[in-house]
């Protein structure tokens, strides 16, 4: 084996050496990193799926859109107004009866499981005649 290697031309040796260096310094670490990430990703995904099951959410997480949000919330609250502030940010006004606050809180708990978006804090509440007016900002990602 060593005798055969010694007989190889210098170009061949250099190419083989480069191949070995690339394999050791690039391919192997990349594969190991990929495998680690894959395991972590599976664990995280499994944890999120478990939480989704707990809230009886069967749909996959969706990209946030005005239409989808209105469609999902119109049955839950008395009035929903959503305005696009810029490319990623939305201002949302929700009008609901005070007795529906629990529905809102449940919706809030599952918000990140339903959409790739985050609620920008704080939440602004105005209460008048048992009706709650809520203003909040949402950032899609």
């Amino acid at each position: 084996m060593i005798k055969t290697l010694k007989k190889l031309p210098i170009v061949t040796k250099l190419v083989y050496l480069l191949t070995l260096i690339l394999f050791i310094l690039w391919v192997i670490p990349t594969i190991l990193s990929y495998m680690n990430n894959l395991n972590e990703y599976k664990e995280r995904t499994q944890a999120l799926n478990n939480i989704s099951s707990k809230y009886a959410i069967n749909d996959e997480t969706k990209k946030f859109s005005q239409e989808q949000f209105k469609k999902d919330t119109k049955k839950l609250f008395s009035q929903v107004v959503i305005k696009k502030v810029d490319e990623k940010n939305y201002k949302i006004n929700i009008k609901m009866k005070q007795e529906n606050l629990k529905s809102f809180n449940s919706f809030l708990e599952t918000f990140s499981l339903r959409y790739y978006a985050k609620v920008t804090q704080p939440l602004e509440f105005k209460v008048k005649d048992e009706m709650i007016n809520l203003t909040m900002m949402v950032q899609a990602f």
Partner: protein
């Protein structure tokens, strides 16, 4: 172990089936042949062709032939483009004595691990073919072997000059022009011009011959023989090869040989004389260029020189596209896993963000629910600003102490304040920072 024909070789060759096994490499193929030598000439067998990747098969075939015909010579030809004929032998180079004081030399012998007992230069073969025709007049002898022209000016006493010309990629017209220019250059130096031309063409090259005739305006005597037949002919009689086969550098020089020619054994085995191309190139750079070299460098364009080098490299099997296959596989697998890793990292970052936001949202929902529940019958909330770090509440209170106690129980460091209103009602405000447990 090589068997050398003994004294009465001529007679015994036929009775004991003296066989010459010939092989040479042209482009990426090896060609193998063997012939039974008889007193009336040799009987050539079928030529076999092996791709360079089947080298082991070729070696095995030679081994079988050797077993079958114990009395044999294995003969090959040196197609090295750097060989030259000179008057003095250089012991540092591989050489063969063509005839007295005329030695063909090349830097080293490179035949890999192929078995060879007799190794001939095309110049030796050319001389052997035409020696009976040589006289005092200058004759130009041209041999075409493996797309290279081996050219020499010779008289019966001396080989005046020799050189090689690559023909690959050149038209017949270009080749003929270069042969003519070579002759002109030689004439300028020596004031001699060849009186006639002899040409040995192992391959069919009628067009080249035609163009050469036109370009040189001379009659050319053509001889067509295959390399195998030339080699069988060289190996038929020891008188042919007693000194003219090529010996590696450092061997005893033929001029110092014993008078008894039959005692001189051909090379036993050349396999340990395989040399690498780098060494050869290094020596080439150091050596003083001869007339032939000057001619070559003068007439050969750079592209042709490069091409010759490429041919040499191919012949030595040093560069192969398959060489890059492992590198390509490593590169592709590295690129694939890098892309996969990057994609997965993006997904993982998204999942992590989702998990963090989920926790924050649960906390926010809990805070909101706590705040509204805390009002109970003690107060009425008018406005609230709620985050998971800070809350600010404002409303009417009618059970000050219960509300204060309730809010303080939720947020211990909160600031509860009241303000009497004109309508005999009391307004409360509550602010607190939420510390995370």
């Amino acid at each position: 172990m090589t068997r050398v024909p003994n004294k009465k070789q001529g007679e015994k060759m036929s009775s004991k089936k003296y066989v010459t096994i010939t092989h040479y490499k042209e482009r990426e193929f090896y060609f193998l042949n063997h012939a039974i030598q008889t007193n009336d000439g040799f009987i050539s067998k079928e030529i076999e062709q092996f791709h360079e990747s089947e080298k082991e098969k070729l070696i095995e075939k030679i081994r079988l032939l050797k077993q079958q015909y114990p009395l044999n010579q294995i003969i090959s030809i040196s197609l090295d483009a750097t060989q030259l004929v000179q008057n003095k032998e250089d012991p540092t180079k591989a050489s063969a004595e063509i005839f007295k004081n005329n030695y063909v030399m090349q830097e080293k012998i490179d035949i890999g691990n192929l078995p060879v007992t007799l190794y001939f230069s095309p110049f030796s073969i050319l001389y052997k073919e035409y020696k009976h025709k040589l006289d005092d007049k200058l004759t130009l002898i041209i041999g075409l072997f493996d797309r290279k022209l081996y050219i020499m000016f010779a008289t019966k006493d001396k080989i005046e000059q020799s050189w090689t010309l690559g023909t690959r990629g050149l038209t017949e017209k270009q080749v003929a022009t270069r042969v003519y220019k070579s002759m002109q250059t030689y004439y300028k130096i020596s004031h001699k011009f060849a009186d006639h031309i002899q040409m040995l063409v192992p391959e069919d090259a009628p067009k080249l011959l035609k163009v050469l005739r036109e370009e040189l305006s001379m009659s050319i005597v053509l001889k067509q023989k295959t390399i195998h037949n030339l080699l069988h002919s060289m190996g038929a009689d020891q008188r042919n090869f007693s000194s003219s086969y090529m010996k590696p550098a450092g061997r005893s020089i033929p001029s110092q040989k014993s008078d008894n020619k039959e005692e001189q054994a051909p090379m036993a085995n050349l396999k340990d004389l395989s040399l690498n191309i780098e060494d050869t190139q290094e020596i080439n750079q150091q050596k003083e260029p001869s007339f032939g070299d000057k001619l070559k460098s003068f007439f050969k364009p750079k592209a042709v020189k490069k091409e010759t080098k490429i041919i040499e490299k191919k012949n030595n099997n040093t560069l192969n596209l398959s060489l890059f296959t492992p590198l390509l596989v490593v590169f592709l697998s590295g690129a694939y896993f890098t892309a996969q890793k990057n994609s997965l990292e993006t997904k993982l970052a998204l999942t992590n963000t989702q998990s963090q936001i989920q926790i924050q949202n649960i906390s926010l929902a809990k805070t909101t629910q706590n705040v509204f529940d805390a009002m109970g019958r003690s107060g009425e909330l008018h406005s609230a600003t709620i985050s998971d770090k800070h809350i600010k509440l404002k409303g009417l209170v009618w059970g000050i102490e219960p509300l204060k106690e309730k809010l303080n129980s939720l947020y211990a460091r909160g600031n509860f304040s009241i303000k009497p209103l004109e309508n005999f009602m009391t307004e409360f405000t509550f602010t607190a920072n939420i510390s995370k447990v």
